[in-house]
Symmetry: C2
Subunit: 278 residues, 2 copies
Protein backbone atom coordinates (compact mmCIF):
# COMPACT_ATOMS: atom_id res chain seq x y z
CA UNK A 1 0.00 0.00 0.00
CA UNK A 2 1.27 3.44 -0.89
CA UNK A 3 2.05 5.69 2.04
CA UNK A 4 -0.51 8.53 2.19
CA UNK A 5 1.11 11.92 1.79
CA UNK A 6 2.14 13.83 4.88
CA UNK A 7 2.42 17.60 5.17
CA UNK A 8 5.90 17.01 6.50
CA UNK A 9 7.01 15.55 3.19
CA UNK A 10 6.74 19.12 1.89
CA UNK A 11 8.68 20.75 4.69
CA UNK A 12 12.05 22.07 3.71
CA UNK A 13 14.66 20.34 5.92
CA UNK A 14 15.79 22.42 8.84
CA UNK A 15 18.83 24.59 8.34
CA UNK A 16 21.97 22.78 9.41
CA UNK A 17 20.37 19.39 8.80
CA UNK A 18 22.47 17.24 6.47
CA UNK A 19 19.50 16.59 4.20
CA UNK A 20 19.28 20.32 3.58
CA UNK A 21 22.19 20.19 1.18
CA UNK A 22 20.49 17.75 -1.11
CA UNK A 23 16.89 18.97 -0.85
CA UNK A 24 15.65 20.73 -3.95
CA UNK A 25 12.24 22.36 -3.73
CA UNK A 26 12.13 22.34 -7.53
CA UNK A 27 12.10 18.55 -7.45
CA UNK A 28 8.57 18.75 -6.08
CA UNK A 29 6.09 18.69 -8.94
CA UNK A 30 4.14 22.00 -8.96
CA UNK A 31 1.23 20.21 -10.63
CA UNK A 32 0.98 17.57 -7.88
CA UNK A 33 -2.22 17.41 -5.84
CA UNK A 34 -1.30 15.15 -2.93
CA UNK A 35 -4.02 16.51 -0.64
CA UNK A 36 -6.84 16.49 -3.15
CA UNK A 37 -10.00 14.52 -2.46
CA UNK A 38 -9.94 13.59 -6.13
CA UNK A 39 -12.50 16.12 -7.35
CA UNK A 40 -12.55 19.90 -7.48
CA UNK A 41 -16.00 20.03 -5.85
CA UNK A 42 -14.81 17.71 -3.12
CA UNK A 43 -11.75 19.90 -2.56
CA UNK A 44 -13.87 23.02 -2.33
CA UNK A 45 -16.18 21.43 0.20
CA UNK A 46 -13.17 20.26 2.18
CA UNK A 47 -11.72 23.77 2.09
CA UNK A 48 -14.95 25.22 3.48
CA UNK A 49 -14.89 22.67 6.30
CA UNK A 50 -11.34 23.62 7.22
CA UNK A 51 -12.27 27.31 6.93
CA UNK A 52 -15.08 26.91 9.46
CA UNK A 53 -12.65 25.23 11.86
CA UNK A 54 -10.09 27.98 11.34
CA UNK A 55 -12.77 30.54 12.14
CA UNK A 56 -13.51 28.89 15.49
CA UNK A 57 -9.81 28.62 16.31
CA UNK A 58 -9.21 32.23 15.35
CA UNK A 59 -11.89 33.37 17.78
CA UNK A 60 -10.20 31.42 20.56
CA UNK A 61 -6.82 32.84 19.57
CA UNK A 62 -8.30 36.32 19.84
CA UNK A 63 -10.15 35.58 23.10
CA UNK A 64 -7.13 34.05 24.77
CA UNK A 65 -4.86 36.90 23.69
CA UNK A 66 -1.76 34.86 24.32
CA UNK A 67 -0.41 33.28 21.13
CA UNK A 68 0.60 35.17 17.98
CA UNK A 69 0.44 33.49 14.58
CA UNK A 70 2.33 34.53 11.47
CA UNK A 71 1.79 33.08 8.01
CA UNK A 72 4.33 34.15 5.38
CA UNK A 73 3.43 33.71 1.70
CA UNK A 74 6.06 33.91 -1.01
CA UNK A 75 6.14 32.89 -4.64
CA UNK A 76 6.79 34.08 -8.17
CA UNK A 77 4.36 36.50 -9.84
CA UNK A 78 0.95 34.86 -10.42
CA UNK A 79 1.78 32.05 -8.01
CA UNK A 80 -1.41 32.94 -6.15
CA UNK A 81 -0.53 34.78 -2.95
CA UNK A 82 -3.65 36.97 -3.14
CA UNK A 83 -5.82 34.04 -4.19
CA UNK A 84 -4.57 31.93 -1.29
CA UNK A 85 -5.55 34.58 1.22
CA UNK A 86 -8.96 34.90 -0.33
CA UNK A 87 -9.53 31.16 -0.61
CA UNK A 88 -8.17 29.99 2.74
CA UNK A 89 -9.79 32.72 4.82
CA UNK A 90 -13.21 32.98 3.21
CA UNK A 91 -14.90 31.60 6.32
CA UNK A 92 -12.74 33.44 8.82
CA UNK A 93 -13.98 36.64 10.46
CA UNK A 94 -12.25 39.56 8.72
CA UNK A 95 -11.82 41.13 12.15
CA UNK A 96 -9.55 38.24 13.05
CA UNK A 97 -7.10 38.71 10.21
CA UNK A 98 -4.41 41.23 9.50
CA UNK A 99 -3.12 40.93 5.95
CA UNK A 100 0.06 42.85 5.28
CA UNK A 101 1.19 43.42 1.70
CA UNK A 102 4.86 44.31 1.37
CA UNK A 103 5.45 46.35 -1.76
CA UNK A 104 8.54 48.20 -2.97
CA UNK A 105 9.91 50.02 0.10
CA UNK A 106 8.95 53.67 0.54
CA UNK A 107 11.85 56.13 0.95
CA UNK A 108 11.38 56.04 4.73
CA UNK A 109 11.37 52.24 4.79
CA UNK A 110 14.37 52.08 2.51
CA UNK A 111 16.25 54.37 4.89
CA UNK A 112 16.16 51.61 7.53
CA UNK A 113 17.42 48.04 7.70
CA UNK A 114 15.29 45.56 5.73
CA UNK A 115 13.67 44.05 8.86
CA UNK A 116 12.51 47.39 10.25
CA UNK A 117 9.17 47.62 8.45
CA UNK A 118 8.59 43.90 8.91
CA UNK A 119 9.05 44.01 12.67
CA UNK A 120 6.46 46.77 12.91
CA UNK A 121 3.89 44.47 11.30
CA UNK A 122 4.56 41.43 13.49
CA UNK A 123 1.37 40.02 15.02
CA UNK A 124 0.51 41.00 18.58
CA UNK A 125 -1.01 38.68 21.20
CA UNK A 126 -4.20 37.12 19.85
CA UNK A 127 -3.43 38.17 16.29
CA UNK A 128 -3.18 36.19 13.09
CA UNK A 129 -1.07 38.11 10.57
CA UNK A 130 -0.55 37.12 6.95
CA UNK A 131 2.44 38.51 5.11
CA UNK A 132 1.80 38.84 1.39
CA UNK A 133 5.47 38.91 0.38
CA UNK A 134 7.87 39.72 3.20
CA UNK A 135 11.48 40.26 4.22
CA UNK A 136 12.31 37.39 1.87
CA UNK A 137 12.01 39.78 -1.05
CA UNK A 138 15.28 41.23 0.23
CA UNK A 139 17.18 38.02 -0.46
CA UNK A 140 15.54 37.46 -3.86
CA UNK A 141 15.44 40.51 -6.16
CA UNK A 142 18.70 42.12 -4.93
CA UNK A 143 20.48 38.79 -5.25
CA UNK A 144 19.29 38.13 -8.79
CA UNK A 145 20.00 41.70 -9.92
CA UNK A 146 23.40 41.64 -8.26
CA UNK A 147 22.67 44.46 -5.81
CA UNK A 148 24.00 42.28 -3.01
CA UNK A 149 26.81 39.76 -3.18
CA UNK A 150 26.95 36.25 -1.73
CA UNK A 151 28.46 37.42 1.56
CA UNK A 152 25.74 40.00 2.12
CA UNK A 153 23.07 37.52 1.11
CA UNK A 154 24.30 34.98 3.64
CA UNK A 155 24.51 37.66 6.28
CA UNK A 156 20.84 38.42 5.61
CA UNK A 157 19.90 34.73 5.85
CA UNK A 158 21.48 34.71 9.31
CA UNK A 159 19.77 37.97 10.28
CA UNK A 160 16.44 36.49 9.20
CA UNK A 161 17.03 33.31 11.21
CA UNK A 162 17.91 35.37 14.28
CA UNK A 163 14.93 37.70 13.83
CA UNK A 164 12.44 34.88 13.36
CA UNK A 165 13.86 33.00 16.35
CA UNK A 166 13.41 36.08 18.46
CA UNK A 167 9.78 36.41 17.35
CA UNK A 168 9.16 32.72 18.00
CA UNK A 169 10.83 32.76 21.43
CA UNK A 170 8.57 35.66 22.32
CA UNK A 171 5.41 33.75 21.53
CA UNK A 172 4.93 33.88 17.76
CA UNK A 173 4.18 30.68 15.89
CA UNK A 174 5.53 31.02 12.37
CA UNK A 175 4.78 29.12 9.21
CA UNK A 176 6.17 30.00 5.78
CA UNK A 177 4.73 28.80 2.48
CA UNK A 178 6.42 28.94 -0.88
CA UNK A 179 3.80 28.77 -3.61
CA UNK A 180 5.53 26.68 -6.22
CA UNK A 181 4.29 27.04 -9.80
CA UNK A 182 5.75 25.84 -13.08
CA UNK A 183 7.11 28.19 -15.70
CA UNK A 184 4.39 26.96 -18.07
CA UNK A 185 1.61 27.70 -15.61
CA UNK A 186 3.02 31.20 -15.09
CA UNK A 187 2.97 31.73 -18.84
CA UNK A 188 -0.71 30.78 -19.00
CA UNK A 189 -1.61 33.06 -16.11
CA UNK A 190 0.36 36.05 -17.41
CA UNK A 191 -1.12 35.57 -20.86
CA UNK A 192 -4.63 35.47 -19.42
CA UNK A 193 -3.97 38.80 -17.70
CA UNK A 194 -2.69 40.34 -20.89
CA UNK A 195 -5.65 39.07 -22.88
CA UNK A 196 -8.08 40.68 -20.41
CA UNK A 197 -7.74 44.49 -20.43
CA UNK A 198 -9.49 44.76 -17.02
CA UNK A 199 -6.49 42.92 -15.56
CA UNK A 200 -3.87 45.27 -16.99
CA UNK A 201 -3.70 47.31 -13.80
CA UNK A 202 -2.12 44.30 -12.16
CA UNK A 203 1.18 44.68 -13.98
CA UNK A 204 3.61 46.44 -16.26
CA UNK A 205 5.80 45.10 -19.00
CA UNK A 206 8.68 45.49 -16.57
CA UNK A 207 7.11 42.73 -14.44
CA UNK A 208 8.12 40.32 -17.14
CA UNK A 209 11.78 40.95 -16.29
CA UNK A 210 11.63 38.45 -13.43
CA UNK A 211 10.33 35.78 -15.80
CA UNK A 212 13.37 36.24 -18.03
CA UNK A 213 15.48 35.29 -15.02
CA UNK A 214 13.27 32.37 -14.02
CA UNK A 215 16.14 29.97 -13.29
CA UNK A 216 18.01 32.56 -11.25
CA UNK A 217 14.91 33.19 -9.15
CA UNK A 218 14.33 29.48 -8.63
CA UNK A 219 17.92 29.19 -7.44
CA UNK A 220 17.50 32.19 -5.16
CA UNK A 221 14.38 30.63 -3.64
CA UNK A 222 16.10 27.28 -3.23
CA UNK A 223 19.00 28.83 -1.34
CA UNK A 224 16.80 31.12 0.76
CA UNK A 225 14.47 28.30 1.76
CA UNK A 226 17.33 25.99 2.66
CA UNK A 227 19.06 28.69 4.70
CA UNK A 228 16.02 29.83 6.67
CA UNK A 229 13.86 26.76 7.25
CA UNK A 230 14.29 26.34 10.98
CA UNK A 231 12.48 24.38 13.63
CA UNK A 232 10.81 27.55 14.90
CA UNK A 233 10.03 28.93 11.44
CA UNK A 234 9.81 26.17 8.85
CA UNK A 235 9.26 26.54 5.12
CA UNK A 236 6.79 24.39 3.23
CA UNK A 237 6.74 23.93 -0.53
CA UNK A 238 3.18 24.16 -1.83
CA UNK A 239 2.48 22.67 -5.26
CA UNK A 240 0.46 25.56 -6.65
CA UNK A 241 -0.39 24.93 -10.30
CA UNK A 242 -3.85 23.91 -9.05
CA UNK A 243 -5.42 26.82 -7.19
CA UNK A 244 -7.89 24.72 -5.25
CA UNK A 245 -5.25 22.25 -4.16
CA UNK A 246 -2.92 25.07 -3.16
CA UNK A 247 -5.62 26.53 -0.94
CA UNK A 248 -6.45 23.18 0.65
CA UNK A 249 -2.81 22.53 1.47
CA UNK A 250 -2.13 25.94 3.02
CA UNK A 251 -5.38 25.64 4.99
CA UNK A 252 -4.38 22.16 6.23
CA UNK A 253 -1.01 23.45 7.37
CA UNK A 254 -2.53 26.37 9.22
CA UNK A 255 -5.19 24.15 10.77
CA UNK A 256 -2.58 21.73 12.07
CA UNK A 257 -0.56 24.62 13.46
CA UNK A 258 -3.53 26.23 15.21
CA UNK A 259 -4.84 22.95 16.56
CA UNK A 260 -1.39 22.39 17.98
CA UNK A 261 -1.66 25.57 20.04
CA UNK A 262 -4.43 24.03 22.18
CA UNK A 263 -6.35 27.26 22.08
CA UNK A 264 -9.01 27.65 24.76
CA UNK A 265 -11.43 30.34 25.78
CA UNK A 266 -10.21 32.12 28.91
CA UNK A 267 -11.79 30.72 32.09
CA UNK A 268 -15.25 31.97 33.04
CA UNK A 269 -15.21 34.99 35.33
CA UNK A 270 -16.48 34.15 38.80
CA UNK A 271 -17.87 37.64 39.32
CA UNK A 272 -20.20 37.24 36.32
CA UNK A 273 -21.75 34.02 37.64
CA UNK A 274 -25.47 34.37 38.23
CA UNK A 275 -25.53 38.09 37.33
CA UNK A 276 -28.94 39.21 36.08
CA UNK A 277 -28.98 42.24 33.79
CA UNK A 278 -31.61 44.79 34.68
CA UNK B 1 -50.20 53.09 -1.43
CA UNK B 2 -47.60 53.39 1.29
CA UNK B 3 -44.35 54.99 0.23
CA UNK B 4 -41.58 52.40 0.16
CA UNK B 5 -38.80 53.19 2.62
CA UNK B 6 -35.80 55.16 1.44
CA UNK B 7 -32.33 54.98 2.94
CA UNK B 8 -32.48 58.75 3.19
CA UNK B 9 -35.34 58.54 5.68
CA UNK B 10 -32.70 57.25 8.10
CA UNK B 11 -30.14 59.94 7.41
CA UNK B 12 -29.61 62.35 10.25
CA UNK B 13 -30.35 65.86 8.92
CA UNK B 14 -27.27 67.81 7.98
CA UNK B 15 -25.77 70.01 10.65
CA UNK B 16 -27.10 73.53 10.42
CA UNK B 17 -30.31 72.33 8.79
CA UNK B 18 -33.40 73.52 10.68
CA UNK B 19 -34.79 70.00 10.86
CA UNK B 20 -31.71 69.00 12.85
CA UNK B 21 -33.09 70.61 15.98
CA UNK B 22 -36.16 68.45 15.99
CA UNK B 23 -34.71 65.19 14.66
CA UNK B 24 -34.44 62.51 17.31
CA UNK B 25 -32.66 59.31 16.32
CA UNK B 26 -34.34 57.63 19.28
CA UNK B 27 -37.69 58.19 17.58
CA UNK B 28 -36.66 55.55 15.03
CA UNK B 29 -37.84 52.13 16.18
CA UNK B 30 -34.76 49.93 16.73
CA UNK B 31 -36.90 46.86 15.99
CA UNK B 32 -38.03 48.17 12.60
CA UNK B 33 -37.05 46.20 9.51
CA UNK B 34 -37.83 48.58 6.65
CA UNK B 35 -35.42 46.94 4.20
CA UNK B 36 -36.37 43.36 4.94
CA UNK B 37 -37.60 41.09 2.17
CA UNK B 38 -40.08 39.72 4.70
CA UNK B 39 -38.19 36.55 5.61
CA UNK B 40 -34.85 35.92 7.27
CA UNK B 41 -33.81 33.52 4.53
CA UNK B 42 -34.74 36.08 1.90
CA UNK B 43 -32.74 38.72 3.74
CA UNK B 44 -29.69 36.47 3.95
CA UNK B 45 -29.85 35.72 0.26
CA UNK B 46 -30.22 39.42 -0.47
CA UNK B 47 -27.22 40.17 1.73
CA UNK B 48 -25.09 37.66 -0.19
CA UNK B 49 -26.13 39.28 -3.47
CA UNK B 50 -25.10 42.70 -2.22
CA UNK B 51 -21.88 41.22 -0.84
CA UNK B 52 -20.93 39.83 -4.25
CA UNK B 53 -21.52 43.27 -5.79
CA UNK B 54 -19.46 44.94 -3.08
CA UNK B 55 -16.64 42.51 -3.80
CA UNK B 56 -16.60 43.51 -7.48
CA UNK B 57 -16.71 47.21 -6.61
CA UNK B 58 -13.95 46.82 -4.05
CA UNK B 59 -11.69 45.28 -6.67
CA UNK B 60 -12.30 48.25 -8.94
CA UNK B 61 -11.68 50.65 -6.06
CA UNK B 62 -8.36 48.94 -5.46
CA UNK B 63 -7.46 48.76 -9.17
CA UNK B 64 -8.29 52.41 -9.78
CA UNK B 65 -6.34 53.56 -6.72
CA UNK B 66 -8.10 56.90 -6.72
CA UNK B 67 -11.01 56.97 -4.27
CA UNK B 68 -10.79 56.28 -0.54
CA UNK B 69 -13.80 54.94 1.36
CA UNK B 70 -14.37 55.16 5.10
CA UNK B 71 -17.17 53.42 6.99
CA UNK B 72 -17.54 54.43 10.64
CA UNK B 73 -19.49 52.12 12.97
CA UNK B 74 -20.69 53.30 16.35
CA UNK B 75 -23.22 51.95 18.82
CA UNK B 76 -23.77 50.89 22.41
CA UNK B 77 -22.18 47.67 23.67
CA UNK B 78 -23.68 44.61 21.95
CA UNK B 79 -25.18 46.78 19.19
CA UNK B 80 -23.35 44.57 16.71
CA UNK B 81 -20.34 46.45 15.35
CA UNK B 82 -18.27 43.27 15.04
CA UNK B 83 -21.21 41.31 13.66
CA UNK B 84 -21.89 43.95 11.02
CA UNK B 85 -18.35 43.75 9.73
CA UNK B 86 -18.52 40.01 9.60
CA UNK B 87 -21.95 39.92 7.96
CA UNK B 88 -21.60 42.72 5.44
CA UNK B 89 -18.13 41.78 4.23
CA UNK B 90 -18.39 37.99 4.10
CA UNK B 91 -18.14 37.97 0.30
CA UNK B 92 -15.54 40.71 0.08
CA UNK B 93 -11.87 39.83 -0.44
CA UNK B 94 -10.14 40.22 2.95
CA UNK B 95 -7.24 41.83 1.09
CA UNK B 96 -9.57 44.67 0.17
CA UNK B 97 -10.57 45.60 3.71
CA UNK B 98 -8.79 47.33 6.53
CA UNK B 99 -10.73 47.03 9.76
CA UNK B 100 -9.52 49.32 12.52
CA UNK B 101 -10.68 48.73 16.08
CA UNK B 102 -10.27 51.73 18.35
CA UNK B 103 -9.86 50.66 21.96
CA UNK B 104 -8.96 52.64 25.06
CA UNK B 105 -6.07 54.90 24.02
CA UNK B 106 -2.53 53.73 24.79
CA UNK B 107 -0.34 56.14 26.80
CA UNK B 108 1.29 57.32 23.55
CA UNK B 109 -2.08 57.88 21.90
CA UNK B 110 -3.44 59.66 24.96
CA UNK B 111 -0.46 62.00 24.87
CA UNK B 112 -1.76 63.42 21.57
CA UNK B 113 -4.97 65.14 20.49
CA UNK B 114 -7.92 62.76 20.06
CA UNK B 115 -7.76 62.84 16.24
CA UNK B 116 -4.07 61.91 16.02
CA UNK B 117 -4.46 58.13 16.08
CA UNK B 118 -7.54 58.34 13.88
CA UNK B 119 -5.80 60.32 11.15
CA UNK B 120 -3.07 57.73 10.99
CA UNK B 121 -5.65 55.07 10.14
CA UNK B 122 -7.45 57.02 7.43
CA UNK B 123 -7.83 55.05 4.19
CA UNK B 124 -5.32 55.65 1.42
CA UNK B 125 -6.12 55.71 -2.32
CA UNK B 126 -7.92 52.51 -3.32
CA UNK B 127 -8.60 51.53 0.29
CA UNK B 128 -11.82 50.69 2.09
CA UNK B 129 -11.35 51.24 5.82
CA UNK B 130 -13.87 50.30 8.49
CA UNK B 131 -13.63 51.98 11.87
CA UNK B 132 -14.94 49.79 14.66
CA UNK B 133 -15.57 52.63 17.12
CA UNK B 134 -13.78 55.85 16.28
CA UNK B 135 -13.06 59.44 17.32
CA UNK B 136 -16.73 59.61 18.32
CA UNK B 137 -15.87 57.75 21.51
CA UNK B 138 -14.23 61.03 22.55
CA UNK B 139 -17.53 62.88 22.58
CA UNK B 140 -19.42 60.05 24.31
CA UNK B 141 -17.72 58.55 27.36
CA UNK B 142 -15.96 61.77 28.52
CA UNK B 143 -19.19 63.69 28.13
CA UNK B 144 -21.27 61.21 30.15
CA UNK B 145 -18.63 60.85 32.85
CA UNK B 146 -18.18 64.63 33.02
CA UNK B 147 -14.51 64.59 31.98
CA UNK B 148 -15.33 67.29 29.41
CA UNK B 149 -17.84 70.10 29.72
CA UNK B 150 -20.35 71.35 27.15
CA UNK B 151 -17.93 73.91 25.72
CA UNK B 152 -15.20 71.37 25.17
CA UNK B 153 -17.69 68.90 23.74
CA UNK B 154 -18.91 71.43 21.20
CA UNK B 155 -15.36 72.36 20.34
CA UNK B 156 -14.72 68.69 19.58
CA UNK B 157 -17.84 68.47 17.40
CA UNK B 158 -16.45 71.35 15.35
CA UNK B 159 -13.00 69.77 15.21
CA UNK B 160 -14.57 66.54 13.98
CA UNK B 161 -16.55 68.38 11.30
CA UNK B 162 -13.41 70.17 10.14
CA UNK B 163 -11.33 66.99 10.17
CA UNK B 164 -13.89 64.97 8.24
CA UNK B 165 -14.35 67.77 5.70
CA UNK B 166 -10.63 67.83 5.13
CA UNK B 167 -10.58 64.06 4.55
CA UNK B 168 -13.55 64.31 2.18
CA UNK B 169 -12.09 67.23 0.25
CA UNK B 170 -8.96 65.19 -0.25
CA UNK B 171 -10.81 62.29 -1.83
CA UNK B 172 -12.33 60.24 0.99
CA UNK B 173 -15.97 59.24 0.78
CA UNK B 174 -17.32 58.90 4.31
CA UNK B 175 -20.37 57.15 5.68
CA UNK B 176 -21.20 56.82 9.36
CA UNK B 177 -23.65 54.32 10.83
CA UNK B 178 -25.12 54.36 14.30
CA UNK B 179 -26.29 50.89 15.23
CA UNK B 180 -29.44 51.64 17.17
CA UNK B 181 -30.62 48.96 19.60
CA UNK B 182 -33.25 49.06 22.32
CA UNK B 183 -32.40 48.82 25.98
CA UNK B 184 -34.37 45.56 26.13
CA UNK B 185 -32.43 44.03 23.28
CA UNK B 186 -29.18 44.99 24.98
CA UNK B 187 -30.37 43.29 28.15
CA UNK B 188 -31.04 40.07 26.24
CA UNK B 189 -27.66 40.15 24.52
CA UNK B 190 -25.70 40.94 27.68
CA UNK B 191 -27.55 38.22 29.58
CA UNK B 192 -26.78 35.70 26.83
CA UNK B 193 -23.09 36.53 27.19
CA UNK B 194 -23.20 36.10 30.94
CA UNK B 195 -25.03 32.81 30.68
CA UNK B 196 -22.34 31.44 28.32
CA UNK B 197 -18.97 31.18 30.10
CA UNK B 198 -17.11 31.01 26.75
CA UNK B 199 -18.29 34.58 26.14
CA UNK B 200 -16.99 35.98 29.43
CA UNK B 201 -13.75 37.18 27.83
CA UNK B 202 -15.83 39.74 25.97
CA UNK B 203 -16.52 41.86 29.03
CA UNK B 204 -16.10 42.83 32.64
CA UNK B 205 -18.65 43.81 35.21
CA UNK B 206 -17.43 47.36 34.71
CA UNK B 207 -18.84 47.27 31.18
CA UNK B 208 -22.27 47.37 32.74
CA UNK B 209 -21.57 50.93 33.93
CA UNK B 210 -22.53 52.37 30.54
CA UNK B 211 -25.88 50.57 30.71
CA UNK B 212 -26.64 52.28 34.02
CA UNK B 213 -26.31 55.58 32.18
CA UNK B 214 -28.34 54.44 29.16
CA UNK B 215 -30.33 57.65 28.85
CA UNK B 216 -27.26 59.84 29.16
CA UNK B 217 -25.54 57.86 26.39
CA UNK B 218 -28.59 58.09 24.15
CA UNK B 219 -28.55 61.87 24.66
CA UNK B 220 -24.83 62.00 23.96
CA UNK B 221 -25.36 60.08 20.72
CA UNK B 222 -28.30 62.28 19.74
CA UNK B 223 -26.25 65.45 20.16
CA UNK B 224 -23.13 64.05 18.52
CA UNK B 225 -25.05 62.80 15.50
CA UNK B 226 -26.91 66.07 15.08
CA UNK B 227 -23.72 68.10 15.38
CA UNK B 228 -21.62 66.05 12.97
CA UNK B 229 -23.96 64.80 10.25
CA UNK B 230 -22.72 66.83 7.30
CA UNK B 231 -23.18 66.60 3.57
CA UNK B 232 -19.66 65.20 3.18
CA UNK B 233 -19.91 62.83 6.15
CA UNK B 234 -23.51 61.95 6.93
CA UNK B 235 -24.78 59.80 9.78
CA UNK B 236 -27.39 57.11 9.28
CA UNK B 237 -29.46 55.53 12.04
CA UNK B 238 -29.58 51.77 11.57
CA UNK B 239 -32.40 49.91 13.35
CA UNK B 240 -30.29 47.09 14.79
CA UNK B 241 -32.42 44.87 17.01
CA UNK B 242 -32.56 42.46 14.07
CA UNK B 243 -29.02 41.42 13.14
CA UNK B 244 -29.88 40.33 9.63
CA UNK B 245 -31.76 43.52 8.88
CA UNK B 246 -28.95 45.62 10.31
CA UNK B 247 -26.48 43.93 7.97
CA UNK B 248 -28.73 44.35 4.95
CA UNK B 249 -29.19 48.04 5.63
CA UNK B 250 -25.50 48.82 6.15
CA UNK B 251 -24.69 46.80 3.03
CA UNK B 252 -27.31 48.71 1.02
CA UNK B 253 -25.87 52.03 2.16
CA UNK B 254 -22.34 51.03 1.26
CA UNK B 255 -23.46 49.63 -2.08
CA UNK B 256 -25.22 52.86 -2.98
CA UNK B 257 -22.16 54.86 -1.97
CA UNK B 258 -19.75 52.69 -3.97
CA UNK B 259 -22.00 52.57 -7.01
CA UNK B 260 -22.09 56.37 -6.84
CA UNK B 261 -18.32 56.51 -7.24
CA UNK B 262 -18.58 55.16 -10.82
CA UNK B 263 -15.61 52.93 -10.21
CA UNK B 264 -13.90 51.63 -13.32
CA UNK B 265 -10.87 49.52 -14.04
CA UNK B 266 -7.99 51.67 -15.24
CA UNK B 267 -7.73 51.80 -19.04
CA UNK B 268 -5.97 48.94 -20.81
CA UNK B 269 -2.27 49.51 -21.32
CA UNK B 270 -1.40 49.98 -24.98
CA UNK B 271 2.04 48.44 -24.52
CA UNK B 272 0.50 45.14 -23.36
CA UNK B 273 -1.69 44.75 -26.43
CA UNK B 274 -0.86 41.65 -28.41
CA UNK B 275 2.05 40.69 -26.16
CA UNK B 276 2.73 36.96 -26.19
CA UNK B 277 4.43 35.51 -23.14
CA UNK B 278 7.27 33.14 -23.92
Amino acid sequence: MAKSPSLDDFRVPYFGDKKADTFSPEAIDPAAKPFSTGSKDGDREHLTEIGVKLDVLQERLHAQRHHRVLLVLQGMDTSGKDGTIRGVFHEVDPLGLRTVPFRAPTPIEAAHDFLWRVHMQAPGAGELAIFNRSHYEDVLVPRVTGQIDKTECERRYRQIRDFESMLAENGTTIIKCWLHISKDEQRRRLQARIDDPTKHWKFDLSDLEARKHWDAYQAAYRDALAATSTELAPWYVIPADSKTHRNVMVAELLLRLMEGLKLEYPPAKAELKGVKIE
